[in-house]
């Protein structure tokens, strides 16, 4: 028998029927795969496997009690397959006296079968029934599916509180089933039922925008509220990559540091000891002999060492380029005091002062030096030495800080996201799952609890 055989059966058609209860026109869109059909006019639940559409249940509802955001009969392309919305139900759970409801859309393709879209507070998931059994990890609140660990999020009894269209199972208003969700963002595994029949299904988070495009919808999509159980964190990828960057930056810095230390010449280019008598009325300023600064533009370190005790010297320096006349002016004070009081020995200050002058081009330089001090202090001996090309650690410090601050900020934001996600779970806080965020979370909560312990 070939499909073109004229004697063969005609292609199945969408069936037009009438509700046996109110006579309203009904459509069966799933070619005999439907088990239940709900009349949208009189809210009768009908047996779709019965040619007479036996009425199984009637329920009260306003005609527009709950209209699907994606109307029945709408078709869209999801992951390359066309699906038509054929059924819609609302399910409600009660947690601590508060009712929470979500919507489920039954999607149908005549060859690929059924898929389900769920919507809660503007968060959407595309579900399919699992054909392999997830492994319950006894003792742990996780299941493993295809090598991936899913963490238990919530278990609740879900009651069907509104139905519309057709379903490939016997749907009943008021029927309750235990639903457990296990998450591994962006996926979630749902376990429905207990005892006789357990169905496992897997959902994957879909954004409103993608969905509205898939179904060519023109109405306003709902705005997602809060963080949903399996909503992908916009930051978890950034956290990993930024810490990878921090790590690489640290390694690179370390390498660079080693290279700088190995290649830096730290060349001593000038050193001379002078004596200064502040009581003398001679001109204090003088110039040093010319010394050469070699190599590329780099820093110069000038050290002033004075043999002092309970005295001070202030030296005005100018580092002058003999070739261009450019001068770098700066002043340094060296002071050292010591004594003894009721607390014992004390000292203040130091005999040594070091200053770094950055970005000095190569060339021939000399120093103009003009010391000052208290004329009462007598003769002070001081040594001036100049070193060229000193490696500077501070810049590495700045660099590390520059990358560490955004890294910490992003990590904090990611932790916040996980906090909001798990706040809605049965546990209230994120699990310690060994991941970076989980570990940090745990550290933070331990820190908090140990702190509050101190307060008591």
């Amino acid at each position: 028998m070939s499909p073109n055989d004229p004697a063969g059966p005609a292609a199945p058609q969408v069936k037009a029927l009438n509700c046996p209860s109110c006579g309203a026109a009904l459509t069966l869109r799933s070619f005999g795969n439907a088990v239940s059909l709900v009349c949208s006019s009189c809210h009768s639940v009908l047996d779709a496997t019965d040619p007479d559409l036996k009425v199984l249940q009637k329920f009260k509802a306003a005609e527009d009690e709950d209209s699907p955001l994606i109307p029945l009969g709408t078709r869209g392309s999801l992951r390359g397959t066309d699906y038509e919305v054929i059924g819609f139900q609302r399910r409600t759970i009660e947690v601590e006296g508060i009712h929470y409801s979500w919507h489920e859309y039954v999607l149908f393709n005549p060859a690929k079968g059924f898929r389900y879209l769920t919507e809660y507070d503007g968060h959407w998931n595309l579900f399919s029934i699992l054909r392999s059994l997830p492994e319950d990890d006894s003792g742990a609140s996780t299941v493993t599916y295809l090598g991936e660990v899913y963490r238990h999020f919530q278990t609740a009894d879900a009651t069907t509180t509104f139905v519309l269209g057709e379903f490939p199972w016997r749907v009943r208003m008021g029927e309750s089933v235990t639903v457990s969700d296990y998450v591994s963002s962006p996926r979630v595994i749902s376990k429905e039922g207990t005892g006789k029949e357990v169905t496992w299904s897997m959902g994957e988070y879909v954004t409103c925008g993608d969905l509205w495009k898939s179904f060519n919808l023109t109405n306003e999509p709902p705005v997602p509220v809060g963080v949903y159980e399996n909503q992908p964190s916009p930051l978890s990828a950034s956290v990993k990559s930024i810490w990878a960057m921090v790590g690489m930056f640290l390694i690179a810095s370390l390498l660079l540091l080693v290279i700088v230390y190995v290649t830096a010449r730290s060349e001593s280019v000038f050193e001379q000891t002078y004596s200064f008598d502040a009581a003398s009325h001679d001109e204090a300023s003088f110039v040093t002999p010319v010394f050469a600064l070699h190599g590329h533009t780099s820093d110069v370190e000038l050290t002033t060492i004075a043999s002092l005790n309970n005295s001070w010297i202030y030296v005005n320096y100018a580092l002058i380029n003999q070739d261009t006349g450019r001068a770098y002016d700066f002043g340094r004070e060296v002071s050292y005091y010591s004594g003894r009081d009721s607390d014992g020995e004390w000292t203040e200050g130091s005999n040594t002062n070091i200053v770094t002058i950055p970005s000095i081009p190569p060339g021939n330089y000399y120093l103009r030096i003009e010391p000052e001090s208290d004329p009462a202090l007598g003769v002070i001996l001081y040594t001036v030495s100049v070193k060229r090309d000193i490696p500077q650690l501070i810049f590495f410090g700045f660099g590390i800080l520059a990358i560490l601050i955004p890294a910490l900020f992003i990590t904090w934001r990611a932790m916040n996201f996980e906090h909001l996600r798990w706040a809605e779970s049965d546990y209230g806080t994120p699990p310690d799952d060994g991941s970076l965020i989980g570990t940090l979370e745990n550290l933070a909560s331990n820190f908090k609890s140990s702190n509050s312990g101190d307060d008591e």
Binding site: S2, P9, V14, G32, S132, E135, T144
Partner: protein, 209 residues
Amino acid sequence: MSQPTANCPNCGAPIAFRWSGSVQTVCTFCKSLLIRTDLDLEMVGKVADLPAAASPVQLGTEGAFAGRSFVVIGRILYEYDQGNWNEWHLMMNDGVSGWLSDAQLEYCITFAAKPEKLPSECRRGQQYTWQGQTYTVSSITKAHYRGVEGELPFQTWDRKDVIFVDLMSPSGKFATIDYSEDPPLLFLGHAVEFEDLKLKNLRSFEGWS
């Protein structure tokens, strides 16, 4: 492979068998249920019309599974309290008989496994290991024969109710224990995706390409 041809003892229409192991077929013209005996065909009854097809598969559909091609030569429609499902009888290109089940468009391919010691009764959640794979009982279904068409490897005309135990595994491998015979039969196979079967000669659905 031989394709013995005979005539329907009821209406005289030619009856061809595509598979040498077939025991039963249905005359496509007069819907007589025919049993193949050593010599001849025996009419044992008439089959009721099947409900409007819900499956894209039909007699003559071709496909492939695990490197072997197959053609659909028969069908059993089972009914249970949550709906119905099809078991399509396959003739593999190496002469083995197999089954393609279509339960609300969820597909599974199974083959009769060599006899194992099977439980006379089981409960959901019980585990069994066959051929190195552990299976967990996922559902126990009491069904009845709603209808048949085409060639089948056993007689169904005298059967009414049957218990099926379905077992799932973490790897997608699938098992069914069929309690219609004593000792029960074990079928082992795999859950499959529609597109992986590369099916041809499918039924077309109005409004769907």
